[in-house]
Structures are given as C-alpha cells and as structure tokens.
Symmetry: C2
Subunit: 287 residues, 2 copies
Amino acid sequence: MDRRRFLKTGLAGVALSALPHNDMMAASAETAAKAPQMKPAPKQDAFNLGMAGYTFVKFDIDKTLEIMQKLDVHYLCIKNFHLPLESTEEQIQAFHAKLQSKGVTGYAVGPIYMKTKDEVDKAFEYARRVGVRLLVGVPNYELLDYTEQKVKAYDIRLAIHLHGPDMPLYPSATDIWNNVCRRDRRMGMCLDIGHDLRYNQDPLADLKKYASRVFDIHLKDVTGNTKQDHAIELGRGKIDFPRFVRLLRKVGYNGKCSLEYEKDMKDPFLGIAESVGYFRAVCDATR
Amino acid sequence: MDRRRFLKTGLAGVALSALPHNDMMAASAETAAKAPQMKPAPKQDAFNLGMAGYTFVKFDIDKTLEIMQKLDVHYLCIKNFHLPLESTEEQIQAFHAKLQSKGVTGYAVGPIYMKTKDEVDKAFEYARRVGVRLLVGVPNYELLDYTEQKVKAYDIRLAIHLHGPDMPLYPSATDIWNNVCRRDRRMGMCLDIGHDLRYNQDPLADLKKYASRVFDIHLKDVTGNTKQDHAIELGRGKIDFPRFVRLLRKVGYNGKCSLEYEKDMKDPFLGIAESVGYFRAVCDATR
C-alpha cells in the first residue's frame, strides 16, 4: 500500500472532507510532474462564422440574437423579415443597437430578389441606408446591366445567391460566374455550397475556380447531389468540410461563412448548435 | 453574351419557371465537367460517442432520449435517477425497451458512490441485473479490497470516476492508477478529462500513461487548470481535442467517450448539441 493510499485509507470517511484544499494540492504535487499542456490560443482565420438571417425565418430578431449569443456567433446577414426594406432611419439605428447589445454585427443584407428596376433601386437604397457594403441579391438576368450601374454608383458589392435545382434563376456557381465574370469586379456570388451540390456541381471546385468573385458563403450540408436531396446538420451530409476549410485558407477567403440551416425550420436550434460546433471543430482541427 | 445567358435573358420573366427541370440539368451539363467529389463514407472509429446520464440530471429519460435521438447519439451511461437501484426486473426490461425504441444502448451504469460494503453489494447486483459489464463507481478507498472481490465474482469491470479538486475521493487519474494498478485488471478508471485538468493534471498525458486501465471517458471541456475553472462547450475551453482524438486512436481506445455536460444544466441542450457537433468534426477532420 503506497503512502498516499495509506494516508487516505486511514482518514477515509472521517476527516477527508475536512482536509483543506491546499493539502490535497500538495499531495497531488507528488505525482503531477509538470503543468498540463493546454490548448494554445486559437489562431484567427481570415474568414468568420456567421448566420444567414433566413435560418431564423420562423423567429423574430430577439430569439435570433439570443441563439447567436449562446452560440458565440457574431455576424448576421440581415433578412428583410427582421428589418423591412421600408424601415425608417430610426428603426435601422434601433436594429443596429439591438444587434450591438448582443455582440452581433450585421455584415450584409439579403438575399433580396429583384424582378424590376424599381426593386433593384430599392435594394441598393436599403443596403446604403443599413450601412452595409455587401448586398446578397438575386436580380433577374435581364436586370444585370442595370444592376451593374447600381453597383458602380453605390460602390456596394453584389453577391448573387445561387439556388440549385429549386429555381431557374442562378442554379449554380458556374451560372453566376458566367454572368458576372466580364462585369464590374464588385459583382460576384454568395456561394451556397449545399444548393450547388444539389445541382450536381462541385462546390469545392467552384470555390477554387471562382474565388475572386466569392463574396459570401452559405454554409450548409446536404444529403447528396440531386434535387431530391435535402439540408442536414453539418457533418452528417456529403460536403467534405475539412477539405472545404483548408480550401478557404488556400484561396485566402476573408468573408463570412454564414450558416443557412434549412432543416426543421420550426425547431432548428439543436441542429444549428450542432452545425456551429461542427464547423468550429473543423477549423480547429485543420490548423 | 454567352449562349446560356442569352437563352435565359430572352426567356426571363416569361417562361423560365415553366422550363422542365431536365432542360435545366441539360443546360448545366455544359459546364459541369464531371460528377462532384463528395465526402467519402466516414470510417468507423473503435471508440463511440456517448452520453453520461448526469448530463440530463434535470430531465427524465424521455427528454434525454429525445435529445439523444435528435443528435444521433446511441450510447448512454445509465444514472440511477433514470433507473433506480431498486428497480424490478420488469422496470429494467421496460427501460431497455424504451432505450432500444430510440436506437440507444445503455452501455454502463453510474457513477455510483459506494460508502459501505452494503452499497458495494447493491451496486454490483444492480449492474448485473441491468445487464451491463461496466460499472462506473466510486468506492471509498477502504472498500477497494472488498470491491475487488466483487469485480472478480461478477466479472464486471469497475471504472472509478475521478472528480478533480471538488472532492477528496479520487481527485485525479494518477490517484486512481495508484490505487488500482496492482489490482485485478478489470479495475480501472472513467477518465474525466475536464476534472483531471481542473486538478492541474494533464488528461492527455494521463490517457497515454494509463490507457490499459481507461475503461470509460467523460468528455468535457473546461476553462482552465484550477478548481475555480468550470465546464464549457467543447472547443471553447482548454482541452486540445484534435490531439486528444489522435491519442485515442494511438492508444487503441475502444470504449465510449461520453459527454458529461455540466454548464447551464437547467437548459443545456444548445451546449450539448454544439459539443456533439464539435466532437464529431474533430473525429472527421483528424482522420
């Protein structure tokens, strides 16, 4: 019987709980040869985890911010159901103040669909008034010339959102690239990696090919590469996130990766949290 | 203007939504050179993610299983507040049936504190009746000889749980090792990596040193290496999980890694989900 065990056995049940903490620490020092090796402070990536407002389509901004604060996520792409396009200056300021009180920055607005010139006008005016330099938007194809004029006039970047097989407008990253590559450099895409895969495209190859025009990313996992496939918690689907994160670093992506979680949208919180944890760990484990 | 853009611009707003899906797929085939590279089927590790029953101390077994099912976690260490020690055979069978209906296996019982010979008797009899071969338990030091007889008689492994600076009984992995290393090989530890670090021990070094006697693991992150530090979501604290998971593989650990989440215990679900996602991604990203 070793000395420590003898000591404890002798005292057990009588006075152990009365032992001052320092004595226990002194006893343990015999066996603790050196200070434990702890995780070094994490390196900051050039990109940040964010939230696509659409993730919270069934919830108001207070619930949205409560969840974001609990999950320690600090960037939100603002959707119009949280901040309507016709908001007054006062409403916009109050909205920003509310975000700020929860440590959240609204880094962009959208996605905003634009089917007429008037809707293009309103979208850019909204982005300007909200004070963001990035508009996630979906202008009809025939409005691209007009939209380009607005991009130049406002000096606001346009990230066109792709929607895979569900919609004929901009189904893929390649389609957006073909439509913007000869236009102003401030016209690019919000690469939705889930929808891109559901359209049988390779979202990682697309990130690499089109990096110069990828201004925003919708983080999403999906069950496969067909229209019938659907969104799922990050890590449970077919996107290879370790390879994706390594590629983000390789191409020098410095925008947001905003989780757009589209499963169980009436009760999405567990899935959102699991996905946030998953993405963080992929970042930590691939450094 | 390329052919696709001309096609779409010409049709936009009129007939695009009427285009059959197959036509869109055919159009995209021009640019999709080959099938997308998708995540390969994940390799199965020798260890599994589980849940320590204590995580759900404020919740009944139905809520526990609802959360486990949503998070796709399939192993539970059964605590007595979910299945009392005095349960009848019928109650035990009904409990197992309920777990099975949610895809969950009760792989062990405990932690169970044993302060008298009678409590040792009851703990081993309970484990036998529940039908598990692993008892996470905390026998008083002076009961270790008696407990060893029970381990041999029942052929049930005992994993002694360490509790860091909060309790004088078994504060560290080293303390358990010193108390079991010359005893029956079925006597070992449930390595609580968070409590070990809070006692200023190095849980990863301990895993390596004591691997032959590590029968269960409590997965936990903590803010630092003192008694004043506390539990936190996996990945936000000081445990280096990528290194930990690589080490699990290196030492050939084939038990469970059971999340014992001790933050916000009245409303722990977001933190549990974030932690589950984090651990999964660490496993995926370090393969």
